[in-house]
Subunit: 242 residues, 2 copies
């Protein structure tokens, strides 16, 4: 009997990839508008490389970009990038299509809901609070805060313990086959791979750990209901067989 | 003959004190709304103390606030503070009453305009660009970028050199008697103390260095015009006396 549905945050509940791409493009455009003497494609590709190397939570993307482009350190250009990046982030932060509807449906059906995510705890909470999604979730587990990252079993075990459910009573929904699906399966949870965003064709080596693959979040309530009905029928027939 | 008017940024061109107070109040309110178990006055006063001790550019105000209040490190509360702080900052960032009109008037009269400010270069440029004030200024000098802070004569001298004017051809307008007025006077500039914001009754030991004291920015064009007319009359009468 499934009692808890656990979700990853980025590219599962929050439309992160789309947002980050828009924010980065707008940042470069605004830097050029304020005098950055480089064409868009050169600067944008350099920024993507830099982010790939230093990580998306590195907080000096724009001044490092100037270094990479062998330009002088100009705080006006850096500020232009920062402003456009933040404006986009705040204006276009959106939940994934169908996420709110699905959460409401699951909530009404009485399921325990939680988030398990990697990333900077303050930034992750910022997304949840800005989208006013916090009321949907019974708890939020952020790996950087707990000191273990997905797919480490510890983060899943701690979440299940805190929520008071057994692994077989929980299902994990996430966009990453490695951290979400392989991770949850290791501790005995059911798994739904949400094939979405930049990981939709990656980490396919771990596809076997996915019990279900979906292209729309709106499949989740059906899957959970289906699992619970199956189990009910099975136990009914067992009772009947006694 | 005055040819250049130099302005301080915070509480001279940008209404910083008012904005910071609103942003901090809203941050505390939002933290309490998201469960911070402390009354407003306690938390707000603790935050002000912390800012006084660590400086306003310290970037961990809200997690240090939790430490000072002997509360657990809760990223949800920190994020609540950060969100409200940023939202306020972006929504309420305003220029000082009359600033834009004065800049336009001086610009039309052909004066060279510049900013000389302390503070983090990216944050200072962010204010200028968000308010779209950059087109008014021929140059912006930010002490943290140059490595010397007001009232050090070097920053004033560098600005004058870059702008191509002599000290006696320049006038400094600022809200701080120590850093702006005493600083500019040391290198031989004229000075206008703008009595505004949290420094309106402070650093009065340096009052003698102010050639003019104003309560409204709109006095600036009159003062500059007055000085130039005086000088013109003086040189006319000298010519006449020959």
């Amino acid at each position: 009997m499934i009692r808890a549905v656990l979700f990853d945050l980025d590219d599962t509940i929050v439309d992160t990839t789309r947002l980050a791409e828009m924010a980065r493009r707008n940042a470069i455009e605004n830097m050029i508008r304020h005098g950055l003497p480089v064409d868009f494609e050169t600067a944008y590709n350099e920024l993507l490389e830099l982010i790939a190397e230093y990580g998306s939570n590195f907080n000096r993307h724009f001044d490092y970009l100037l270094r990479r482009l062998e330009l002088p350190n100009n705080p006006k250009w850096v500020a232009s990038g920062v402003i456009a990046y933040h404006n986009t982030k705040f204006a276009y932060l959106k939940s994934v299509r169908g996420a709110r509807k699905v959460l409401l449906e699951l909530k009404k059906d009485g399921y325990i809901l939680a988030i398990i995510t990697d990333g900077d705890p303050i930034k992750q909470w910022e997304k949840i609070l800005r989208l006013e999604l916090d009321e949907f979730f019974d708890d939020v587990f952020i790996s950087d805060y707990l000191g273990v990252k997905k797919p480490h079993p510890k983060i899943f075990k701690r979440a299940l313990k805190k929520l008071g459910v057994k692994p077989e009573e929980a299902i994990m929904v996430g966009d990453r086959l490695y951290s979400d699906i392989y991770g949850a399966k290791q501790v005995g949870m059911r798994t739904v791979w949400f094939r979405y965003g930049k990981y939709r064709d990656r980490e396919l080596d771990y596809l076997d750990y996915a019990d279900f693959t979906i292209e729309s979040l709106e499949e989740v309530p059906k899957i959970v209901r289906g699992l619970n009905n199956e189990e009910k029928e099975r136990s009914d027939s067992e009772v009947h067989a006694d």
